[in-house]
């Protein structure tokens, strides 16, 4: 009562503690902000440099040529006044003839003309094949580990160790594995085994020859599938474990078999999470370069995978023949080698002399690549949201 009213009973005691608190808080905050800054810097740089390549200021606002044409060699013809004309190889001579005496010089820049449809299609195919294989194998493995395997089984511990190690394998090693396993030794049915066949099993009507699939979408897709498998297994298993045990108990108590329980009371509720993990898988598979270098990707290809020269069918060909050809054309897509976006970017950045034209193609490709991956991720997030609303608990 007698104390002056200004005395603070809660006054802080040690200024050193307060100082330490401030320093730590700012260190942590700066660390976090630095990460954000780096991300923004990368994205902004690519936006500024890449968006002008992919978009136009006039209708239809996107650079149609860039998105719908195959890459080609760019010819830049300079006249005596310093004016520059960009043309593709077919029109180069015509332009030069028109210029006549005004012609000054001609520069060619590989891969930088045309568009990037080939790489887009190739990446889409590789991602589709790899995610299908990885989801099937990964979810199967996760279900086995989570629902069937018994805890404490030493074999299961080895399996887990193997998955962990698989996640740590450098991607170039996966590439070499894919080269050895899929490109050179995977089994195919052939009439006559090739000389390089590792061994062949005659089956009478045909021969199962281990002579590899060659560099193609299938080889690359399988290789990429193994790259993303650990991510998918680990995440899927966590999602399965997150489904309440009560669902399993109830289902079993109603007389369901283990598989019925998984099929109707576990898997539907784990699916949203599994899809999330597949987003990570898709982004990873789309971005990997090393695994496809030896197994699927070409630096340059002037055809889309379905543009194949099949012999024309006779006029009186049966419906069956047409159908057969369509099927073989479709299946042929997966046995073609392709261009892929990450490898195309690598080629543009590291394999050709750099100038403003190659840089333009580079940034454009990177920008489109980012937009594609982002929209894939976004659509998966939307799908997951809808499934969550349906199967929340």
């Amino acid at each position: 009562m007698n104390q002056p009213a200004t005395a603070n009973p809660f006054a802080g005691m040690k200024s050193r503690d307060a100082l330490r608190e401030t320093i730590v808080r700012w260190l942590l905050r700066l660390g976090t902000f630095f990460i954000v800054a780096v991300t923004v810097a990368i994205l902004a740089h690519i936006m500024v440099k890449g968006a002008p390549v992919a978009f136009r200021s006039t209708w239809p606002f996107v650079n149609v040529q860039f998105l719908t044409e195959l890459p080609s060699t760019l010819h830049v013809i300079e006249d005596v006044k310093g004016g520059r004309i960009e043309v593709e190889v077919n029109r180069a001579d015509q332009v030069k003839a028109q210029l006549g005496d005004a012609f000054h010089s001609e520069t060619t820049i590989s891969y930088s003309g045309g568009g990037i449809l080939g790489p887009i299609v190739g990446t889409a195919l590789l991602v589709t094949v790899s995610i299908s294989i990885a989801l099937f194998l990964g979810v199967a493995c996760a279900i086995y580990l989570s629902e069937y395997a018994r805890h404490g089984n030493p074999l299961i511990e080895w399996v887990r160790l193997a998955i962990l190690n698989l996640a740590g394998v450098p991607s170039v090693v996966f590439g070499l594995f894919g080269l050895g396993a899929f490109v050179l030794t995977a089994p195919v049915f052939v009439d006559v085994p090739a000389d390089r066949s590792v061994f062949a099993i005659p089956l009478g009507f045909t021969t199962l020859s281990f002579e590899g699939w060659d560099t193609c979408v299938l080889s690359g897709g399988f290789t990429l599938a193994f790259v993303i498998l650990p991510v998918i297994i680990t995440a899927s298993e966590q999602c399965l474990q997150a489904v309440p045990q009560g669902f399993r108990e109830t289902s079993m108590a109603l007389g369901a078999t283990r598989w019925q329980t998984i099929r109707y009371s576990v898997l539907p509720f784990a699916t949203p999470g599994i899809l999330t993990s597949s987003i990570l898988g898709i982004a990873r598979a789309a971005g990997e370069t090393a695994p496809i270098m030896f197994t699927a990707a070409l630096a340059f290809k002037d055809k889309l995978p379905w543009q194949k020269d099949l012999p024309p069918l006779p006029a009186d060909a049966s419906i069956f023949a047409h159908w057969e050809q369509s099927v073989s054309r479709f299946l042929g897509i997966f046995t073609e080698s392709v261009q892929a976006l990450p490898y195309h970017i690598y080629t543009l950045a590291a394999k050709i002399p750099q100038n403003e034209y190659s840089e333009r193609a580079q940034y454009g490709s990177v920008f489109v690549f980012l937009v594609l991956v982002a929209s894939l991720a976004a659509s998966s997030v939307l799908l997951r949201k809808r499934l969550r609303a349906k199967y929340r608990w």
């Binding site: 109830t250 109603l254 929340r392």
Partner: protein, 262 residues
């Protein structure tokens, strides 16, 4: 044990546990259990935490099979006269005929209809009218039909806790089991919801044989015809509920009922 005195005039026991020992790995959980569950009567299993009453309940539909290393080491469990550990017993058929309701109400995050129809669907029933009929019957029997008949397609998780537990009962009786096992079905419910479930059990006992685990002695008095008291893995006393609570034969039972348990 006087529970057997009327055995000759009533149907044979639906569930019979004979001299059963049960172990989790190396640690024994139940010793020499003998129990006869009467046809269309409610049998309550009471006892302190960890006495093995839930384990005993889960022996009756072999839910303990889910626990690795858990097994019956001696004796046998007969349901409808058949030893359920025989090699020719199909677990899915056993569990179809011995339904179970768990402590935590755990409806699937599906529609009310799908929850009730689940058991029939996994047993291969595809006929819509059969399913409709079974859903209506089960919901009526579990006193939910009038409340829910207009929203059978609503998500079961939107129901209140008590409704969810009654839905779980409806789900368990949809396959027309002979025995209904209930593992502390009211322990997570408020008194009013508990009362509803207890009323329900009285009505269900006319058509089903019920075994209920409860840690609430008053509940055992209210709902059961027979009471079994377990302590440290042993069945101490088993008697008609009225006798059990008014005139226990065992000293241990008496001290448990009085609450002077050491």
């Amino acid at each position: 044990m006087s529970a057997d005195s009327t055995a000759k005039t009533t149907p044979p026991p639906v569930v019979q546990v004979r001299d059963m020992d049960f172990c989790y790995g190396a640690s024994p959980a139940l010793f020499g259990i003998n129990l006869k569950v009467k046809y269309r009567r409610v049998t309550a299993l009471i006892g302190p935490s960890g006495c093995g009453k839930s384990t005993l309940l889960r022996c009756i539909n072999r839910m303990n099979d889910r626990v690795p290393s858990a097994r019956v080491t001696k004796g046998e469990v007969l349901v409808k006269g058949k030893n359920i550990h025989d090699a020719d017993v199909d677990l899915t058929q056993l569990r179809k005929q011995v339904g179970m309701v768990f402590q935590k109400s755990n409806p699937f995050p599906k529609s009310i209809y799908e929850n009730v129809a689940y058991g029939l669907r996994i047993h291969g029933e595809k006929n819509k009218s059969v399913l409709d009929e079974a859903v209506e019957r089960s919901l009526r029997q579990s006193a939910l039909w009038d409340e829910l008949k207009d929203r059978l397609n609503a998500n079961a998780l939107a129901l209140s806790g008590g409704q969810q537990q009654r839905l779980c009962i409806a789900r368990a009786i949809a396959t027309l089991p002979d025995v209904l096992l209930m593992d502390e079905p009211c322990s997570a419910l408020d008194p009013i919801a508990t009362l509803k479930i207890e009323e329900l059990m009285h009505r269900l006992a006319q058509e089903y044989t019920i075994v209920i685990v409860t840690h609430n002695m008053q509940q055992a008095v209210r709902v059961s015809d027979y009471t079994a008291f377990l302590h440290l893995g042993k069945l101490v006393e088993f008697a008609p509920t009225a006798e059990f609570f008014t005139n226990p034969l065992e000293k241990l039972t008496e001290s448990y009922l009085r609450g002077t348990f050491s």
